[in-house]
Amino acid sequence: MTQQRLLKGGRVVDPANGRDGVFDVLIDGDRIAEVGSNLPADGAEIIDVPAGLIVCPGLIDMHVHLREPGQEHKETVATGVAAAVAGGFTAVACMPNTRPVNDNAGVTQLILQKAREAGLARVYPIGAVSRGQQGEELADIAELRAAGCVAVTDDGLPVATAILARRALEYTSMFNMPLIEHCEDQTLKGDGVAHEGPVAASLGLRGIPGVAEAITAGRDILLAEMTGGHVHIAHMSAWTTIEAVRQGKSRGVNVTCEVCPHHFTLTDDLLAAPVAYDTNTKMNPPLREARDRDAMIAGIVDGTVDVIATDHAPHHYDEKNVEFDRAPFGIVGLETAVSITLDTLVRTGLITVSRMVELMSVNPARILRVAGGRLSPGDPADITILAPHLQVTIDKTKSISKSKNTPYHGWSFRGGVAATMVGGKTVYTNPATGMRL
């Protein structure tokens, strides 16, 4: 007989099943057995969920860089999944720009092996679109799929040419998997390091215009429309990109999209103050202007945006402790996303908890065609317990990720993670919330 656990008395938010209210969740081994009111214990271990906490299907971050193989000084699969569960994520999808690139089954299998050894969060590898991410010929996508990849992307770069993007959309449609696009016209980006605008002009930084993103997004949305393939627009940052996605969706194109917490909270003003040229404000796509940030929020509110993902991009302290234009792009995000979202979107009333769960669990599962996103009998018991009233101060020195490159150090948010459960096993509890599992 497998072990049964009964989560009692929490507010269960499970939009896929139309649930938002106080329910019990019965877990049998690694699966959800039943969700209902006042379920009998019947010998199950009873776990009382303190009042005010929210039980929801495990959050899924569909855009992280785990850096293994090849850049283990920044992050490993093991440290990455530890950071993920501390951030409330029960699963992550990892980008293929490792060294070597995840463009073959061998690398995919290595990542999955490391993930099995680490336990904790589920890991869904994403394969490269093109061999070596060189943008010339398709990678062995059928092999990648068979080995366990759930999507393909050349993230870090866009699919280099329109013809390759067309072929990729046609080819991936055979496997019912999305093409994830890092949209950025490389000629318009040039050697830019910051959003092209007044702030970059006054700091003397080379600019990346917002339309560099929207142009590639427009190209790919049109190609998805033509081929019937599924394109997922990663980490949108420019208002023009949201507009392109909105138009595509209104025409019925198979396009989905994501936004990162930093793009719906921060603007490029942060490059100038309080710490001028802070390399932890450098990421790609860059922080843009208030109009862009507000468009991200509007897209989240009106339903245009499908997913909140972190683009967790760990970099070593030494790599960031250099001149701004020499620093690598990217910030960590796994351990801050829930607090930022609960505070800036949910507490403010812009979205409901239910919408947050759609953005961070239901929709990533749907887009990647993986398990999760709901608490139905028979589903894996992947559960995140949120503490919406918890006061959280971000302290990079306490982060679990191997890298500390966050612009949110010292920021306070209302809302955090109480506990994370993967396959019925407790993988994280936050003692500050009174939650015991």
């Binding site: 007044p198 700091l203 003397g204 930084l205 001028a276 001149e323 234009d325 020499r326």
Partner: protein
């Protein structure tokens, strides 16, 4: 001065700028003596840390330091060797360990001086950082204008050239607008940065409009790489469309002065007749650079305007 470092004109209030210019007048007098030396910075070590080639600026700083009796040394590092080896932070920490009073930094990355100012006890003087600022250039330009015109407020200053990549442009726009000049900037549309208008200047692509009635014409260097980068089709077309010729200068006020931070490209941004003509103050700028840098070093070292040259 209220600041420990000189990172850019952006940090300075108008009264601090005027204080530097006034102090520079006293320093200029020192340069006209037979014995061009005062003991003001005796016992202080100043390191000129240059990651980019520079003749004019480095020499100017070195002369300024020597005239103030500072112990001065030059560290010139090719950027390429840094890429292979030590980081800027490590270089700075090593120099810092030898306890210099000041570090004068020239670097190809915008913000390099800000980075150093966060890790060094030494006062950091920005001698040009990437496309960001070149504050002592703007100060010596303002000094030269004030010397010729007696004021800055209300003067029409036309700045013509590569506005996009120029640190001299940024520092000058900040300084001249703080002191009330009417600043016009002119370049091909491809070399105008986004957001320049928000800095309080009039932007035009018509050089005649910029120059019309100007008291000061300031030319910026056009680098050959910009043509290769596709910003404009040819040096010849640049000269015919934007080059400062005698004919164009005639649209300015009869007593207008011609300025250029150097090094000049004759026949590209400026005709030789203009660069060498009677209205040109290009070499006065170079001469004044020493006095202005003496003033900056002196004030950063804690001196006051009145005891400058005792």
């Amino acid at each position: 001065m209220r600041h420990k470092h000189l990172l850019g004109i952006a940090d300075l209030d108008p009264d601090e700028i005027v204080q530097i210019l006034d102090t520079a007048e006293a320093m200029k007098e020192v340069g006209q003596r037979t014995i061009k030396k005062v003991p003001t910075l005796r016992g202080r070590t100043v390191i000129n840390l240059f990651f980019e080639p520079s003749t004019r600026t480095r020499t100017s700083f070195e002369i300024a330091e020597k005239r103030l009796s500072a112990d001065t040394l030059n560290v010139a590092i090719a950027s390429s060797s840094v890429v292979k080896g030590e980081t800027l932070v490590d270089t700075a920490m090593n120099l810092e360990a030898m306890a210099p009073s000041m570090i004068v930094l020239r670097h190809s990355s915008s913000g390099a001086c800000h980075l150093l100012s966060r890790i060094c006890q030494a006062a950091i003087v920005n001698a040009g950082d990437g496309m960001h600022e070149h504050p002592t250039q703007a100060l010596l330009d303002a000094f030269t204008i004030r010397e010729r015109k007696g004021r800055l407020t209300g003067l029409k200053v036309a700045i013509v050239g590569d506005l996009l990549h120029s640190r001299v442009l940024r520092s000058n726009v900040l300084l001249l607008t703080k002191l009330g000049a009417d600043v016009w900037v002119c370049a091909p549309a491809t070399l105008i940065p986004a957001g320049l208008r928000q800095m309080g200047v009039r932007v035009t692509t018509r050089v005649d409009e910029a120059v019309e009635g100007a008291d000061v014409i300031m030319m910026l260097r056009i680098q050959l790489e910009r043509m290769q980068g596709g910003y404009f089709p040819s040096l010849r077309e640049y000269f015919t469309t934007f080059g400062m010729t005698e004919e164009r200068v005639r649209r300015a006020r009869p007593d207008a002065i011609i300025m250029h931070p150097g090094p000049i490209n004759r026949g590209v941004e400026i005709a030789s007749e203009v660069a060498d003509g009677s209205a040109s103050v290009i070499l006065d700028q170079v001469a004044n650079g020493v006095a202005v840098r003496m003033a900056v070093l002196y004030l950063l070292a804690g001196g006051t305007e009145h005891e400058a040259v005792a």
